[in-house]
C-alpha cells in the first residue's frame, strides 16, 4: 500500500517535533526512518498509525486521507518497541486478539481463527510457544510474537518502532535477515524506526535520515553513502572522523593540524563554496607511513580486524582510527599520517 505524507507538522508545547515532513512510500517498499533520539522519527510513525495527531499536514494511504480514520479502523500493523504484548494472555491468544474482537459479521469462525494463528506461529517460527505467556519467553521470541499479532489483522501497512532496540547483538543479526525475508515473502509495505545506521542500511530499500523533526535526506542506502546531502548525513552514516578544514577551490587544508593538504582530485565530494569546511575521513581513507624521524602522528594501539589491522593514532589533540591491510608499526612508534580521500561540506 502506498503511503504519502504531505507537509506534516507536530509540536509538543513549544518544541517542534515534526516540521513540514514530506514522505512518499511505494507499495511493497521497506523504508527506514533513521535518526538520533529526539529527531521525531517515532512521532512520525505514531502519526501514521493514528496513535498521535498531527497539527498540520496530511497522511494518505492508497490515496485515502487518514485524518478522520480512527486507529482501530486503519488496519495498520504496529510493532511496539517493547512489544506491548498482553501479559495475561498466552502467545496464541495475543495473536488471535485482532480476529476475536471483530464484529460478528466479519469475525472468522473459531476453527478458522485457530488455523490462521497456527499458520502465523509457524510463519514467525515459534509454533512451540503457543501456550506460553509473554513473560515466559525470550526477547527475540516476544518480538516474533508481537510481529505475528500485528500480521494477524492482515495489515495494509506494517510499522515497526525500533524493532531490534531491546535485543542483544547476536539475536539482532538473525532477526534482521529474517524480517527482510518476511517483508519480501508476504509482499508487505513496511516502515521502521531505528537509530542504528547498519540496521537501516541492511534492511531498507530507502532510508529517510531525520534530524530535529525534519527529513534531511531520503534516498537508497547507496545514494546516502555516495552522495550525502550534508555534513549531518555524512557524519551520521558510516564511521568517519570529522575535521575542520579550509577550502580554497583547489585544495583542502587542515591547518593548524599537521596534515598535508588534499587536492580537489582526491575529494569524493567537494564543498559548494570556498571558505571554512567540514571534512569527513573514513578509517580506510587514511595512509599511514612508517618514518625514520619525527612524523606527525604517534601510534597508540593496534588490533587485528580479520581483514587487516586497525590503528589508533594520536594526531595533535585528536585520536584518529585508520584501517590498513597491514602495518609494521608498533605502539609508541612515530609515523606519517596522510588523508587519501575525504568528503567535505562548506560550513560558511
Amino acid at each position: 500500500m502506498s503511503v504519502s505524507v504531505q507537509g506534516l507538522c507536530r509540536r509538543f508545547g513549544n518544541a517542534a517535533a515534526l516540521r513540514d515532513i514530506d514522505l512518499e512510500v511505494r507499495s511493497g517498499e521497506f523504508v527506514a526512518l533513521l535518526g538520533p533520539s529526539g529527531s521525531g522519527k517515532t512521532t512520525l510513525l505514531r502519526i501514521l498509525a493514528g496513535l498521535e495527531a498531527a497539527d498540520a499536514g496530511r497522511v494518505l494511504i492508497e490515496g485515502q486521507d487518514m485524518a478522520d480514520v480512527p486507529v482501530r479502523s486503519r488496519r495498520i500493523g504496529f510493532v511496539f518497541q517493547h512489544y506491548a504484548l498482553f501479559r495475561h494472555m498466552s502467545v496464541f491468544e495475543n495473536i488471535a486478539f485482532g480476529l476475536r474482537i471483530r464484529p460478528r459479521a466479519t469475525r472468522p469462525p473459531r476453527a478458522e481463527i485457530a488455523r490462521r494463528v497456527t499458520a502465523l506461529l509457524e510463519r514467525v517460527q515459534i509454533p512451540e510457544l503457543a501456550a506460553r505467556r509473554p513473560d515466559q519467553i525470550s526477547g527475540g521470541q516476544r518480538q516474533r510474537a508481537a510481529l505475528a499479532r500485528a500480521l494477524a489483522i492482515e495489515p495494509r501497512l506494517l510499522l515497526l518502532d525500533e524493532p531490534f532496540g531491546a535485543l542483544d547483538a547476536e539475536v539482532r543479526k538473525g532477526l534482521r535477515r529474517w524480517l527482510r525475508d518476511l517483508h519480501r515473502d508476504m509482499g508487505l509495505t513496511s516502515i521502521f524506526v531505528t537509530h542504528d545506521q547498519d540496521e537501516a542500511m541492511e534492511l531498507a530499500d530507502r532510508v529517510a535520515v531525520m534530524r530535529g523533526g525534519a527529513i534531511v535526506q531520503y534516498d537508497t542506502p547507496e545514494e546516502l553513502v555516495e552522495h550525502p546531502a550534508d555534513a549531518f548525513v555524512a557524519g551520521f552514516l558510516g564511521e568517519a572522523v570529522r575535521l575542520e578544514a579550509q577550502w580554497d577551490g583547489t585544495a583542502l587544508r587542515f591547518d593548524p593540524l599537521p596534515l598535508a593538504p588534499l587536492p580537489a582530485s582526491a575529494l569524493r565530494q567537494a564543498p559548494r563554496a570556498p571558505g571554512p569546511a567540514l571534512a569527513f575521513i573514513r578509517p580506510r581513507d587514511w595512509q599511514v607511513l612508517p618514518v625514520a624521524e619525527a612524523g606527525n602522528a604517534t601510534l597508540r594501539a593496534r588490533r587485528p580486524t580479520g581483514h587487516g589491522v586497525r590503528l589508533e593514532l594520536e594526531l595533535g589533540p585528536l585520536i584518529v582510527e585508520a584501517e590498513l591491510p597491514g602495518s609494521p608499526l608498533r605502539p609508541g612508534d612515530a609515523c606519517l599520517l596522510r588523508p587519501g580521500a575525504a568528503r567535505a561540506f562548506a560550513t560558511g
Binding site: 498482553f86 495475561h88 486478539f97
Partner: protein
C-alpha cells in the same frame, strides 16, 4: 520427612534471601505468636459450653441477624468500593490535575483516622438532621441507625484498600498495551474489558478481599452510625463486646469463632479465584 527435607533443600537452592533456615524459623515463630496462638485460643474457648451449647448460642436469632448483617454489609460495601476505587485509582494514575496530590493524600485518611472519630463524623453527617441525612431523609432514605448506615461506614473504611492495591498495578500497566489493542481494531470497551480489567483483576480481587476483611472487623466507626438495634442494625463485633461485658466469655468466643470460619472461607475463595485467574 525425607520428601519434606528435599523440598526445603530445593527452596534453599532457589532462595535469594540468605539464611533460609533461620528466616523460615523466625517467620513461623512470629506468625505463631502473633496470629496462630490467639486464634487457637479463640477456637478452643467456646467448647466450654459443649457442642450443644455452642450451637445453641449461635442459633439465637439475634446472633444470626448480627452475623448476616456483618457479612452482607461488608461484602456489599467491598463490592461498591471496587468500581469506585478503580475509578479513583485510574484518575490518580492517569490524569494530571491541580490538587491531585491532595486527593492522593486524602484517600489514606480512613487508614489513619481513629475509627471512633470517623464514626462520630459519619453519624453527624447522616443523622436525620445532619447535612446529608436531612436531604436524604426528605427523599425517604434513612441512613443513620439502619443497615444502610452500617454499609456507609464500611464503605468509608474500605475504600483506601481498593485504591491502594489497584494503583501500583495500574501505574505499571503500559499504555502501549491499550494502544496495541487499538491498532488491532479494538474499540474502547473491548480494550477495557479484554486488556485493562484482566490485567488488573488480581489487584482488584486483593483490594476487594482487604476491603471486605476490614469492613467485617470494623467496630469503632460502625457502632456510632448503626444505632445498634438488635435484629436490625447490630453488627457481630458489637454482639461479641456485649457478651464480654456480660462475662459470657465462651458465648463471645463462639460468635468470634463463627466469624473467623466464615471470613476464612470467603478469603480462601477469593485467594483461589486469584490463583485461578493467574493460571488461566
Amino acid at each position: 520427612m525425607a520428601a519434606a527435607s528435599t523440598r526445603l533443600t530445593a527452596l534453599r537452592a532457589r532462595g535469594a534471601i540468605p539464611g533460609f533456615g533461620a528466616s523460615l524459623g523466625v517467620t513461623l515463630l512470629w506468625l505463631g505468636l502473633i496470629v496462630l496462638v490467639p486464634l487457637a485460643a479463640l477456637a478452643v474457648r467456646p467448647w466450654e459450653l459443649g457442642v450443644q451449647g455452642v450451637l445453641r448460642s449461635l442459633a439465637e436469632p439475634r446472633v444470626l441477624a448480627a452475623l448476616r448483617l456483618s457479612f452482607l454489609a461488608s461484602l456489599a460495601a467491598a463490592a461498591v468500593n471496587l468500581p469506585i476505587g478503580l475509578l479513583l485509582a485510574w484518575v490518580l494514575v492517569r490524569d494530571r490535575f491541580p490538587g491531585r496530590r491532595l486527593l492522593d493524600g486524602a484517600i489514606d485518611l480512613p487508614f489513619a483516622l481513629p475509627t471512633a472519630v470517623a464514626g462520630l463524623a459519619l453519624t453527624a453527617l447522616y443523622a436525620p438532621e445532619g447535612w446529608l441525612g436531612a436531604p436524604l431523609g426528605a427523599l425517604g432514605l434513612k441512613v443513620a441507625y439502619t443497615p444502610l448506615g452500617v454499609g456507609i461506614a464500611m464503605l468509608f473504611v474500605g475504600l483506601p484498600f481498593v485504591v491502594r492495591s489497584v494503583e501500583p498495578v495500574l501505574r505499571d500497566l503500559p499504555r502501549e498495551a491499550e494502544e496495541a489493542a487499538a491498532t488491532l481494531g479494538a474499540n474502547r470497551l473491548q480494550t477495557l474489558l479484554r486488556v485493562v480489567l484482566p490485567a488488573l483483576m488480581p489487584a482488584l480481587l486483593a483490594g476487594f478481599a482487604m476491603a471486605f476483611a476490614r469492613g467485617l472487623g470494623e467496630y469503632g466507626s460502625v457502632i456510632f452510625i448503626a444505632g445498634n438495634m438488635p435484629m436490625v442494625s447490630e453488627i457481630a463485633p458489637l454482639l461479641i463486646t456485649i457478651r464480654l461485658e456480660q462475662y459470657d466469655y465462651a458465648g463471645a468466643a463462639a460468635v468470634g469463632l463463627a466469624m473467623l470460619l466464615l471470613a476464612f472461607m470467603i478469603l480462601l475463595l477469593l485467594n483461589w479465584l486469584q490463583r485461578w485467574g493467574r493460571a488461566k
